[in-house]
């Protein structure tokens, strides 16, 4: 019975195996990016960027259908265009970068939804907004895996300057010029992973599998490496449990994955070892030193 509910869907159906493979690839790459987004206080920037990539991905979708190559290319172009435009306006007018980004992402989202609704159907629009990980073909899965691999390799290259730039940016500027390129590469990884999550979770929830696991990890460790590991595990488990929930209850897969991650997040807020509510209410006897 338990085997049928938890393992059966994956042994029986190929689309479920593909979805599980995709969710693992998304988690391996997206969760570490989410941890850095959170620690650099950029969680909402990630959310804004997720909306900003919509018109590019929508144009790719209209030109080539559900082709992740075209959608990735379009999303990358739109994401970088919004990031650069927001940066240029902020620097040339004195408007804060987050306010500038908010303006551009809203315009971008409106443009994307308009493009899809004019040329596509309501089903297309729902697909773009919420994704469908269960409809993933081999080619798309390979693109997701490739993007995840690139993400992990680039993250390994920029890891050290990214950490130092997050904690002490002035120091990094005195010893190296790697800070600026590392930040730009990091933004590129954010966009790549948002586009990667597009197919599975849609534009509105793509950032969820990055930020929620990072938020969960924050309540369990004060060590960056451990936080990244916890975030990856939380993302994989949320993905797996969300797929099972979706299969058994017919809830759409993307929202199911994010809802499971939200449950883990609430449990972490309540019972987390680092700053959890219960821990703060009942801290136990104080220590010797």
């Amino acid at each position: 019975m338990v085997h049928d509910a938890l393992i059966g869907p994956f042994t029986e159906f190929e689309f479920m195996r593909r979805a599980l493979a995709a969710v693992i690839a998304l988690s391996l790459a997206g969760a570490p990016i989410g941890v850095f987004l959170m620690l650099r206080r950029m969680s909402l920037v990630g959310d804004a960027m997720a909306h900003a990539i919509l018109p590019g991905a929508a144009v790719g979708f209209l030109l080539s259908g559900l082709n992740l190559f075209a959608m990735t290319a379009g999303g990358l172009i739109a994401g970088f265009a919004v990031a650069i435009l927001a940066g240029v306006v902020a620097r040339s007018t004195g408007l804060k970068e987050d306010a500038s980004l908010a303006t551009f992402y809203l315009a971008s989202l409106a443009l994307g939804v308009t493009i899809v609704s004019i040329k596509g159907t309501n089903i297309d629009l729902l697909h773009v907004l919420f994704g469908n990980i269960l409809a993933m073909d081999d080619q798309t899965l390979l693109v997701v895996a490739f993007n995840a691999t690139v993400t992990l390799l680039v993250l390994a290259v920029i890891y050290r300057p990214l950490v130092i730039e997050s904690v002490d940016p002035l120091f990094l500027r005195t010893v190296s010029r790697a800070g600026g390129p590392a930040h730009l590469a990091f933004l590129a990884l954010v966009v790549i992973n948002l586009v990667n999550g597009f197919q599975a979770l849609g534009t509105l929830l793509a950032v969820g599998l990055m930020i929620l696991p990072a938020g969960i990890a924050r309540f369990w460790s004060r060590d960056l490496t451990v936080m990244i590991c916890i975030a990856v595990v939380a993302a994989v488990v949320s993905g797996y449990a969300g797929l099972v929930l979706s299969f058994q209850t017919r809830i759409p897969s993307g929202p199911a994955i994010i809802l499971v991650a939200t449950v883990f997040y609430i449990v972490s807020v309540l019972f987390g070892r680092v700053g959890g509510v219960v821990r703060q209410m009942f801290p136990g006897r104080h220590l010797e030193a």
């Binding site: 620690l39 904690v167 002035l170 500027r173 005195t174 010893v175 460790s221």
Partner: protein, 251 residues
Amino acid sequence: MAQLAFRNVTLGYDRHPAVHHLNGEVASGALVAVIGPNGAGKSTLLRGIVGILKPLDGSIHLGGLDARDIAYLPQSADIDRTFPISVFDFVGTGLWRGTGLFGGIGKAAREKILRAMASVGLNGFENRPIGTLSGGQMQRVLFARVLLQDARLIVLDEPFNAIDSKTTADLLALVKHWHHEGRTVLAALHDMEMVRTHFSETLVLARGPVAWGPTAEVLTPENLMIAMRMCEAFDDSATACAADDVSSRAA
């Protein structure tokens, strides 16, 4: 021999000068205090020296030093202490010159880091996240990192702010040790008694140089009064600097 030379240096933000028309030299091995009221341009000057800020005008010469031969101790407020990094890893960033992007931290490097931590009294703090440290402990961490950098020019931005007298004494001893080793040290300070007692040379700043020379000659009530009267306000309708017109006509 000059370790640092300022040639009509103006540093600032958005065309507004924070330090105006500074000329002078710092000899190799000098121990220089930079003093002045809040907003006098002390931190801006130090940021210009270490290359974080480019001069709006003029130039700063580093006497042939590579940027990596300069160690900079920023104000604690510039550091994000909520970031989950241990004291050991934070101090270890001082080895960047040797490790760069990919270099590993081997046994010898680990021992260096531990020795630097021991030198500032941080034994046993290796695994503590920096967010759990007191202000004085964090300042010791920053000094340990400077120690690891093993630089010829050391630039300290308000290194003794808000720390107790014992920590101040320990860290001041370290500064004097660097001086005796022949390193050039510049420190932005507020404690006049400390400057008078321990620093042989002083630059009094008030958005421009008020006086610069031997501390006993420079640290006078008159100079301090001039610095205190400095105008801190930004003037949005300020015209282009007249001194620049004069210097360009002379040229």
